[in-house]
């Protein structure tokens, strides 16, 4: 049971950390419409976080609700992938991070709709519309940025080169993931990776971007609680109020 709780926390943590990062851009988007779109994505992800945490807390049975899980865990207890805690940077950095995540998230959620766990399948079903839209949007923007001006191309290619080493962690399955695959809860890494690579290659070709080698070395550790230096700052800001006034209701 603890294995499934851990798996659910990973799903929730990914969505929460990315949502928190996108929220920092509220009011700072390159255009009003982009600003709203990014905020919408952040809200979708936050909603998904709540569903994963709620289920994880129930399964765990230790009285930790979604707020406890979000606000009363420190960095080493967070299991999000390193990609998602990378700084927002410029808009190309933000969108490349988003695109790498969305492409994985979409195929993952499609896989999870066939999960042997009915509750997980139901949450995936509910999220599918949202992640389909996220992927369409970020893919579209990658094409526009890559195949835009010389400057936008250079910035996007630089973001791709910088973030590539964080893109593979989601496919590095450990004992938790493998147990979930064996139970029919989660889709296998090889299938997801093949779908991800094919989709990224297709969008990059259209965007005139160069895709780094698929077998490049990949950074990992986030799923096991070993994070980059960025996560501590994200959590310090996110958790401040609950740390200062623990258990306060709002």
């Amino acid at each position: 049971m603890q294995t499934k709780v851990n798996y659910l926390l990973r799903l929730g943590d990914n969505a929460l950390i990315l949502s928190q990062q996108l929220c920092q851009l509220c009011g700072k988007g390159p255009a009003l419409e982009e600003d709203m779109a990014l905020t919408n994505v952040a809200l979708d992800l936050l909603g998904q976080t709540r569903l994963w945490y709620e289920y994880a807390g129930e399964l765990e049975g230790a009285g930790r609700d979604e707020d406890k899980l979000a606000y009363h865990r420190d960095a080493h207890d967070f299991k999000n992938c390193l990609l998602l805690e990378q700084p927002n940077g410029n808009y190309a950095d933000t969108m490349v991070r988003q695109f790498f995540f969305d492409a994985w998230h979409y195929f993952l959620i499609v896989g999870l709709t066939r999960s042997s766990d009915a509750r997980i399948a139901a949450i995936a079903e509910k999220s599918l519309k949202e992640v389909t839209y996220h992927l369409r949007r970020s893919g579209d923007l990658i094409v526009r940025l890559g195949d835009g001006t010389e400057v936008s191309y250079a910035k996007t290619q630089a973001a791709v080169n910088d973030l590539w080493m964080y893109s593979g962690e989601v496919f590095a399955y450990d004992a938790v993931d493998e147990a979930m695959v064996a139970e029919g809860v989660a889709p296998a890494a090889a299938d997801l990776r093949a779908q991800w690579l094919a989709h990224v290659a297709e969008i990059f070709a259209e965007a005139t971007l160069t895709m780094p080698p698929a077998d490049a070395w990949m950074q990992s550790g986030g799923k096991q609680g070993r994070h980059s230096e960025h996560l501590g700052y994200i959590l310090a800001e996110m958790q401040f109020l609950q740390r200062a006034y623990p258990g306060a209701t709002w």
């Binding site: 255009a31 009003l32 419409e33 709203m36 779109a37 919408n40 949202e130 949007r137 579209d140 526009r144």
Partner: protein, 94 residues
Amino acid sequence: MSKEWPLWEVFIRSQHGLAHKHVGSLHAPDAEMAVNNARDVYTRRNEGVSIWVVRAADIVASSPGDKGALFEPSNSKVYRHPTFFPMPEEVKNL
């Protein structure tokens, strides 16, 4: 060329709506992004909606000065208005 994205007018038919209604406008670089943006700004992605976007520059509006000639309904001439025919129950949405 202006650095500002062109203005688009947005029309949306809601889930149970019969016709597209003008809901507002937005700036977007092209039609595809205008539709995407309209979804984010005006619908929050409700199912069953239909969105039309059209460049504001492509809309021709009537001039307020023509009000009399275009819209004076000839209220004094009752024979011009089809108000003497009872509508059958079955005819909806007229």
